[in-house]
């Protein structure tokens, strides 16, 4: 009677299709970034120099490491090492929280300097500077939202591993969450150089 039949490949394929939509979502912001960078290279250079590259680099490593731990947890689950798998999942969540905390400090410093979308300070700055920070806040904000959703997702799957609903025989939910998490990492791999590194090269 049941028409529920398992198609893990289909499930992964569907997940990939969903990830495409995420890429397009961010690429809208990348289009804006590329065009504005081309119009105001010098303003962008100056504005980018105001970002905290140390925190940015640190966060890049944090996110790369979280990707590693989540991948390890998939292998652990496939090898039926449930405890290790759970450990790696928790590690990932911890790293994700560290990322958000870093981001919080970064943002609050900027906000305390009067730099935030719609602020008077930005309204008085050069047009390219205002555009840079507006894009910066929206892009990192949207990315941060994705990190947050990722945390919720991984915690849910962790719970399902504990209850045995996700297991070596039926790992597809963990695999799909991993795909999602890697994509969030992948987007950061581009967000980081776009905002923190590349604009600086265009000084004069």
């Amino acid at each position: 009677m049941s028409i529920e039949h398992r198609d893990d490949t289909g499930a992964r394929f569907g997940m990939w299709l969903f990830l495409y939509t995420e890429v397009i979502l961010f690429s809208g912001l990348f289009v804006l970034f590329a065009m504005t960078q081309a119009r105001f290279p010098e303003h962008f250079a100056a504005a980018s120099a105001g970002l905290n590259t140390t925190i940015g680099t640190l966060n890049t490593f944090v996110l790369l490491t979280s990707s590693l731990t989540l991948s390890l947890s998939v292998t652990a689950l496939q090898l039926n090492k449930i405890r290790q798998s759970l450990l790696f999942c928790s590690g990932t969540v911890l790293l994700a929280v560290i990322f958000l905390v870093n981001k919080y400090f970064e943002w609050s410093t900027e906000i305390s300097h009067g730099i935030y979308p719609g602020s008077d300070h930005l309204a008085e700055s050069a047009p390219g500077t205002a555009a840079f920070f507006n894009l910066y806040f929206f892009t990192t904000g949207l990315h941060g939202l994705h990190i947050f959703i990722g945390i919720v997702l991984i915690l849910t799957v962790t719970g399902m591993i504990i209850r045995g609903k996700v297991s070596a025989e039926c790992p597809v939910l963990l695999v799909n969450s991993t795909l999602y998490w890697h994509l969030v990492d992948l987007i950061w791999i581009f967000v980081f150089p776009l905002f923190y590194l590349i604009p600086r090269g265009f000084h004069g």
Binding site: T57, S67, L197, R200
Partner: protein, 93 residues
């Protein structure tokens, strides 16, 4: 099922992670050279290499069938076209 993925060893994941971290470090270093659009393209190339590693190993694309890769191709073309054709306007106004 033949379509199921084989577990990837901890070791290969670690190697990829090391490579990714090194490449990020490399990018930060290149950015310090401040060479205008040349460094921009190098940095983007390095980032794309990182993306390739994440896609193929972390995201198991190397174990998936052709239809997964065709999809990625379609996606990349659409993104490149959107950015490229918009430049045709913005740069030549």
């Amino acid at each position: 099922m033949a379509e199921e993925h084989k577990p990837v060893s901890y070791r290969s994941y670690f190697v990829i992670w090391l490579a990714l971290s090194a490449l990020s470090g490399l990018n930060v270093w290149i950015a310090g050279l401040a060479g205008g659009s040349l460094t921009a393209w190098i940095i983007l190339a390095v980032a794309s290499l990182q993306a390739g590693l994440v896609l193929s190993v972390f995201m198991h694309l190397n174990q998936e069938t052709k239809m997964f890769r065709l999809g990625i191709l379609a996606l990349l073309i659409i993104v490149a076209v959107s950015i490229g054709l918009t430049f045709v306007d913005v740069l030549y106004r």
